[in-house]
Amino acid sequence: SQELEQSPQSLIVQEGKNLTINCTSSKTLYGLYWYKQKYGEGLIFLMMLQKGGEEKSHEKITAKLDEKKQQSSLHITASQPSHAGIYLCGAGALNAGGTSYGKLTFGQGTILTVHP
């Protein structure tokens, strides 16, 4: 079965600093999703990456997908306290028929703390 490893497991930064979170898969990636979770709440969708080399940005968050390395990175520029939370990467799957399937396997999460 597919496994996703996130690094670092936790990160503490000063407001205004840039940071990167990595997500490495044990198998080929078929769609990579980034979500953010606040404690006790559901997952908030950030971005979905589908193709190798794809890069997407939303406000100060940029995500990239390197299919060859089976890896994705999430970069936050000029972090703010509002960026604090748990960041989760999730990978799609292939079903028995070889077609893409949204059953997601998640990494263990990266806990981000941003000090004002």
Binding site: G42, M48, S100, G102
Partner: protein, 116 residues
Amino acid sequence: GAGVSQSPRYKVAKRGQDVALRCDPISGHVSLFWYQQALGQGPEFLTYFQNEAQLDKSGLPSDRFFAERPEGSVSTLKIQRTQQEDSAVYLCASSLFPRGARDTQYFGPGTRLTVL
């Protein structure tokens, strides 16, 4: 509705009790997923519905877990004879297209189940 809703938000059960957790997906969404999230971990897949059909229940941990979506909208996850190891947050997600393939999954706030 505007988003995925789940009820109750919190449930405390005595060991051996049966519980029922409800999910209201976004109107018109074909795909519905249930995930289980243990403390400090990423969500883990439980089961998938395409409309009213339960196409994948490979993640259900035991035959005490049962899910249904009889009319292709609201879904209920039922756990019989709850055990302490069932304590977790149960998350529901819906997406527009069949199989949720390469499609944004929108998550509800989750139900936090505590079994005493």
